[in-house]
Amino acid sequence: MAVMTLIDALRQGMDEEMARDPRVFITGEDVGPRGGVFRATQGLHEKYGSARVVDSPLAELSIVAIGIGAALADLRPICEIQFADFIHPAFNQIVNEAAKFYYRSNGTWRVPMVIRTPYGGGISGGLYHSQSIEAFFTHVPGLKVVVPSTPKDAKGLLKSAVRDPNPVLFLEPKKGYRAIKGEVPDGEYTVPIGPARTAREGRDVSVFAYGMMAHYATMAAEKLARDGGIDAEVIDLRTLLPLDKTAILASVKKTGKALIVYEDNRTMGYGAEVAAVLADEGFELLDAPIRRLTGLDVPAVPFSHPMQEHFMPNPEKIAAAIRELAEY
């Protein structure tokens, strides 16, 4: 097993899929010789050439639409949106088109494509380089939405996404691109889209998180365990659409208490759905209110450091929220 960063694992996943299947190609802004602004595609242009690693015009809706057309023609596009904040021009193509093609053609026209994009705050990116966008797209049946938080999952889920016959929105926690390192199995493997991952087992409180927040939650839980007294379980949801209901209900059955952590704005953020599922199907399992620890309900993450930090959840805030719930 090699230890590598999240972004190296992603690159390796794309590389292997391109080597495996000549129908796989990459398009997006600066993905070519520049290797992407985060270097996710570095070296791939050199290796696979301009025909398969295609610098797109600066135009997100067509990056996605070209991907849709190519997928309809049975290619396997990987479309990169440079920052999640810039996916909004492509909203119509994703929501009205990619997600609805299979349904609207009664299962005849498929759109096997991957849309990769870095998301999330805490990187001094201000209002337009920090956004979380999962809330918008997890409301769209026909799409799958995936958020890896470890290098192993990043690579394995990406490979599954490329092979999936449906459009998959693949959200990459950019703050973790280089900050998150971990073991990646040697050789071929995939991680299935669907099941959540238990990042840490525990008995007192269930913490549901994904992306960078799954890491922070694990850090918080470890700290509380070291400090003694509180044994929190951390579930890394990994696939947000479809949601792994079985996993969240099983965890709450054990702990009776649920904290949901996400860095997006609170209102109508993804955790609302997790809470709603638990408040319905898990009602009799609950011993305490369902808490959400989230980004603030302001339009986006501000640039200047004190405001940014106040916006973002972090391990300390998560630990405090777990403790409060444990003591309920």
């Binding site: 015009p57 070209i66 057309g69 309809l72 290619l75 299962g107 049946p141 016959p165």
Partner: protein
């Protein structure tokens, strides 16, 4: 008013092709008229018409490798898809929303064409979304050819992507971005704008500051041409050129077919609020079906007898399709739940 068929590729069209073009237009017209009638009778909820656009559509279709080249149509393209192989039955099933309807299993409103076996892409309602997707289809064609996945001259494989929309819909950013890709990558792509002067009620001069949609091609490095869309041979001629360009690596073409919609926008519309009856009557004199009929009569290819025979056949086809659709069952309620996600495939 007759049509000019002395120059261009249309001069080469044989009698069989000419009659098939004529009967396709005729069938489309009669189906379309029946749909309006069914709506007036309260038998169907909605109809949106291709009437008046038949020459543009059939002229274009016959220039393509039908059923092979990718076609991404819009809601007026009844005659186009009939020319490619969609049947009156398919259309009637969509009007009535009956089980087994071809394009969508009756999930979509009528005239949202689509047929996988004919390489007709399933359409949606938001206008112009098909344009960058069609550029993507064309991109895939070029990709396969360049990477040796197919032979560029293999006529069993799609060699271009063809898409249509109305002139008003070129106001959308979607259109701009699709055209732009077609220009940058010199794609085997043809976009035909069926310019009927109105976007529902809004006149062309409120949609754009130029006189011809074809003028917009110069912003993209795409060949642009406009043509009398009611002259089926003129359309065929420019389309043949565009097809040859696409097949031979010459890049994309924007074809503007100037035409008119002699009926309201859809069965929900009332066009009296935005245009005069005189204008509509004036355009009806240029009816593309009558113009083709006159020309073929003049050329001796059509006769009064043949016309009657074709009329009878069209009526019989329409009657039969209507009957079958009326008698067919509706989808099951639970059909709503199917085909949300494609199942995993073998790799």
């Amino acid at each position: 008013m007759t049509l000019n068929r002395t120059a261009g590729s249309s001069a080469q069209l044989g009698e069989a092709a000419l009659l098939e073009m004529y009967t396709t237009m005729l069938l489309s017209r009669r189906l379309d008229e029946r749909a309006w009638a069914l709506h007036r009778q309260g038998k169907i909820a909605f109809h949106i018409s291709g009437m008046g656009h038949e020459a543009a559509q059939v002229g274009a279709a016959f220039a393509l490798n039908r059923g092979v080249d990718y076609v991404h149509p819009y809601y007026r393209d009844l005659a186009l898809v009939l020319a490619i192989g969609v049947t009156p039955m398919d259309f009637m099933f969509s009007l009535f929303g009956k089980k087994g309807e071809l394009s969508s299993g009756a999930r979509q409103m009528p005239s949202h064409f689509g047929a996988k076996h004919l390489n007709i892409i399933s359409g949606s309602s938001p206008v112009a979304t098909q344009v960058p997707q069609a550029a993507g289809l064309a991109f895939a064609i070029k990709y396969r050819q360049q990477s040796g996945l197919v032979d560029p001259n293999d006529a069993t494989q799609p060699r271009l992507a063809f898409t249509c929309l109305g002139e008003g819909s070129t106001s959308q950013g979607e259109w701009h971005e699709g055209m732009n890709w077609a220009g940058v990558h010199k794609l085997p792509f043809i976009c035909m704008v069926q310019n009927n002067l109105y976007a529902i009620s809004v006149k062309m001069d409120s949609q754009m500051g130029v006189a011809n949609v074809a003028d917009r091609a110069s912003a993209y490095g795409v060949h642009g041409v406009w043509v009398d869309g009611n002259d089926i041979f003129a359309v065929y001629d420019v389309m043949r050129e565009a097809v040859d360009r696409a097949y031979n690596g010459g890049g994309a073409t924007l074809v503007e077919a100037k035409t008119y919609r002699p009926v309201p926008h859809s069965s929900d519309d009332d066009d009296r609020s935005y245009r005069t009856r005189e204008e509509v009557e004036e355009w009806k004199k240029k009816d593309p079906l009558i113009r083709m009929q006159t020309t073929l009569l003049n050329e001796g290819i059509l006769t009064k007898d043949l016309i009657n025979e074709y009329e009878n056949r069209a009526r019989a086809d329409v009657d039969h399709a209507q009957q079958a659709a009326e008698n067919a069952p509706y989808p099951e309620a639970l059909d709503v739940l199917g085909a949300v996600y494609a199942p995993a495939e073998e790799v």
